[in-house]
Symmetry: C2
Subunit: 591 residues, 2 copies
């Protein structure tokens, strides 16, 4: 079966839980983007994704990309689907209208990309980098470069890449060695090798625009010596630039997206932004790019869930314990969906999907608010939310995509392990999301070491208070979340103090800290979803599914909150003990 | 890099922790199997595995098995390696000497199979089923069948299969439809289709002996109507029997082991055991087979760990936080092994490997005791241990193989996702171990519903008391384990009471119950390992590694114990509340 987006589930979260339509309407550029238009965009997106993108997923995995003497040939159907994507105006959904875009909110684009990844992760990789390249050029490129490239990229007519990684420089970009030398005509000559370049070469678009992190002569060592250079595959005069794909990687999954080793041999390029500010120019799109990876995780988990749910509703094995299920009829065995172990898997993954969606869509809304709100304080709050929540979502949604997809595979028993059912592809594809766009370990360090601790936890505390203020303490579930948010704020202070005594500690507990934050936020999301379901009070399969998911969340997922909190606390206590012991020791020795 | 067994690590666990040599010497058949002989067997096994089996693993994954009009061709090097395996006497390690075996203890065979799986999971699948087939025929086959097949199987000259699963009957063997009809000459004619048959066809041995679960005419419906029939590929007169491989599955991993769909068209066979006792005849080898899957899990995790450990000791990225590590030298970046996030992954997986090894080797020892001890009480105790601990180890070791291998993949960053490094193969291969030989969900139900609850937790309690008595309460770590074992015994009673009120409850918390048991037993293992390291008091890399792993276990792994305990407790409390409410309600209503 192919993935089929279910706009009604998403609409409930956007409208009833997040009040997205009226929040967006309050932003000047989206004054006209009413609920009906938003719904219409989602319906169209669901149709395109379900009818065009999903059906070519399986063959994309099996055939994969083909490397042929420097050329890369996309799997069957990919060229036509991508052309349809461009023709439908999908790449330019949130780009400014003056650049050829549709000027729609980031939150609608977020939903589109979640569904794309669910339907066909490999296909999604092609346009996924456009948005970063667009934002990067929009903010940092010269007028001349913008004239030449901005609209082509906004509309997806040309695709783009991010050339960061080198064989010896993965997470550590400061070690980048690719060189760029200034020419008299203002251009640069770029030389070096880059690896792991998604879409470095392909036949989907005539031109490919590479944004290359490199080092100018006399640049200082480390990350401050890096500059960003635009290197097109085809030069403005139509001739081939000296940038070539040397090979594509054989990977665990994501076979329909070519991962290229690129060679730059005195290739012609132009500086984007100031020399030495390459990282800053790339980091402009960091929150958006990381949020999109989180959305890929959510989409991949949803596709795994759809497959497992469908299988569990057809496959019969053994009698389920307890009262006779209505589905039994005269069958000698019950649906596996009636077995508690399978029910638990399905409801737990559903809890992750809709909880994470709520947080991710809220973050996408905040991307819109951060740019378009008339109130600078509101923009600042939105920016703060994105800074704090994006690494959390990137890490937990991708972690859950892989582990949850594996749980969904388990629903199939032995059939899950064979390719035929497509579920094992989801597991293989999902695995990379835990690595790219900053490994999940780096997200955790980004959150705790770079964002929470520098101001002693103040900004995170403000985000948590903001969440607290949306809750209704008279509701039991809400009061429970408030308690957790308070514990989390207290924990922030504890870690900050312990970090003074032992600066290594935050690196040791960063993963646990991130999980505690994620679980508290998921609890917030589920409290809000339940409140919305009560308020809207329409019965239906969506509501029943959410009620089961909410119960599964409290029963099986949330207990990890206390466990992680305990791990962090004990680590801090150990530091406190060691520290006071150390403070006493030297005096004892000196006497 | 290829997997290389490290006998010294295993020897420490067998000798210093488990006192295996003297325990084995106390059993009559192993009176001569002294520590020197055991060491020698392990050294030879390590050499064979490292030199012959490990080097063909990668090509086995890439080339895979080839299906050619009913024939199956093993990947390059597999035939020669298997011949070497047979010539070395390895398949017959624990088979009785009168059957052509070496009569060595099951525990040495356990270590051999752990290493084999670590080196080459696909290769290991071929001989892995021999032991079950051997035990099954030894206990249940007629003298004539034994004459014909027992020695061939014991020595591995012919390989064997277990033909259980049918398309509609996976976990639910009661639904098996393959028919067998009695012939006048005493043979049977078998007809039907079986799927997921590992090694159903191949070119490693001239003959293949299938043990087929089928239904005789007039057999009752359900599992009690099943009989076991031996169906050889070649009949005693050398002609081909009517059993054929129709296709092999395309799988997520394990490409070098053919997973066959088999067709029996009036194939000739002979009954093994009594009609209608087919399941009983197969279940004779259940504990041993499941323990072997647990050992595969341990081996796969160890191979992932070896790869990650080697990579982390070479790859440099960024500065590690904290004091300057000795390994820094003049390098611009530190070894990733010095980064806390990577250190945590490596030490945590090491904790799982050596803790699980201790429990698995103890179980293998108990298999020997259960058969060979002169004292019937000791045999009974050993049997009880195996019954309780085997499902626990099957589930947690395979779960950890997949999840821990994925953690090890993460150590490689983007390089982990490409095939080149071999780590992604471990993740793909490991995934199947959570499914076959009874899914992990079925292990949990087997433990709680079928083994713990029927006697109100008495047998499990006895196993836990046995563990408690090995501990020294004056040691802090041991006292901590004793507390946990007591909590676990109490929890058993709680669940048994709650199950009376709600018979579905045990199915809902079976996974959590199994994890609590596993974590308490792991804590026991680590307390014993640490005590042994203190007692032996030899410094070295092994001891340092174990000390880090012990700390990681307490810090990152063991906290799950309280979390799972809490989940089970709350579920039982909810039942108690509902139950007392229900008990009150009817009277209220009646009045």
């Amino acid at each position: 079966m192919h993935y089929q987006p279910r706009p009604e589930d998403v609409r409930f979260l956007l409208n009833a839980v997040l009040d997205a339509p009226s929040r967006l309407n309050a932003l000047a550029p989206f004054a006209e983007v009413d609920q009906a238009l938003q719904s219409q965009v989602l319906e169209e997106a669901a149709r395109f994704v379900g009818e065009v993108v999903a059906p070519i997923n399986r063959e994309g995995d099996e055939v994969g990309c083909r490397f042929d003497e420097g050329d890369v040939i996309a799997p069957p159907g990919f060229r036509a689907a991508y052309q349809g994507f461009v023709d439908g105006g999908w790449p330019a959904l949130s780009a400014a209208t003056e650049d050829g875009g549709q000027g729609l909110p980031a939150v609608l684009e977020a939903v589109l990309y979640e569904w794309l990844a669910a339907a066909n992760h490999g296909f999604t990789m092609a346009p996924a980098l456009l948005h970063g390249a667009y934002a990067c050029l929009k903010h940092h490129a010269s007028e001349e470069l913008k004239q030449r490239y901005l609209q082509k990229i906004a509309t997806g007519e040309w695709l783009a890449t991010m050339c960061l990684t080198e064989a010896h420089a993965g997470s550590d970009l400061g070690q980048v060695r690719t060189r760029a030398e200034q020419q008299v005509d203002g251009s640069l000559r770029v030389s070096g090798g880059k690896i792991f370049i998604s879409g470095g070469e392909h036949d989907l678009t005539p031109n490919i625009v590479h944004l290359v992190l490199c080092r100018l002569p006399d640049a200082p060592a480390g990350p401050k010596g890096l500059s960003l250079v635009l290197v097109p595959k085809l030069l403005p005069d139509g001739t081939r630039n000296a940038v070539h794909c040397e090979r594509i990687e054989e990977k665990m999954g994501l076979h329909s997206s070519p991962t290229c080793s690129m060679r730059f041999d005195d290739a012609t390029g132009w500086l984007v932004g100031e020399p030495g500010h390459g990282l800053a120019a790339m980091f402009v799109m960091m929150n958006s790019a990381r949020l999109h990876v989180a959305l890929q995780g959510i989409g991949l988990l949803d596709t795994a869930w759809q497959k497992a749910d469908a299988y569990a509703s057809e496959r019969r094995q053994m009698r389920a314990p307890g009262p006779v299920p209505a589905s039994r009829g005269n069958e000698p065995a019950d649906l596996i969906a009636e077995h508690p172990a399978i029910r638990r898997i399905l409801d737990t993954q559903r809890a992750w999907i809709d909880g994470a969606r709520t947080l991710a869509y809220r973050s996408a809304l905040m991307l819109d608010v951060a740019v378009h709100d008339a109130d600078p304080k509101a923009r600042e709050r939105a920016q703060r939310w994105c800074a704090m929540v994006t690494p959390v979502l990137k890490a937990v949604c991708t972690q859950q995509a892989f582990h949850g997809a594996s749980e969904c595979l388990q629903v199939f028993g032995g059939h899950g392990y064979v390719r035929e059912w497509g579920i094992e592809q989801v597991v293989r594809d999902a695995r990379v999301t835990m690595i790219y766009e900053g490994t999940n370990e780096i997200q955790a360090i980004d959150l705790l070491v770079r964002k929470v601790l520098p101001d002693g936890g103040a900004a995170m505390s403000a985000v948590l208070l903001e969440l607290r203020d949306t809750l209704d303490a008279s509701r039991e579930a809400d009061a429970d979340v408030q308690r957790r948010l308070a514990q989390l704020r207290y924990m922030g202070t504890t870690v900050a103090m312990a970090a003074h005594a032992n600066p290594v500690l935050p690196y040791e507990v960063a993963d646990d800290y991130l999980r505690v934050v994620a679980l508290a936020m998921m609890a917030w999301a589920w409290a809000r979803i339940e409140a919305a379901d009560e308020a809207v009070a329409t019965d239906g399969p969506g509501r029943a599914m959410r009620a089961r998911a909410a119960a599964a969340f409290r029963r099986w997922v949330l207990p990890e909150f206390e466990m992680r909190l305990g791990i962090v606390k004990r680590a801090c206590e150990t530091v406190a003990l060691t520290h006071s012991a150390a403070a006493v020791q030297p005096r004892g020795v000196a006497q």
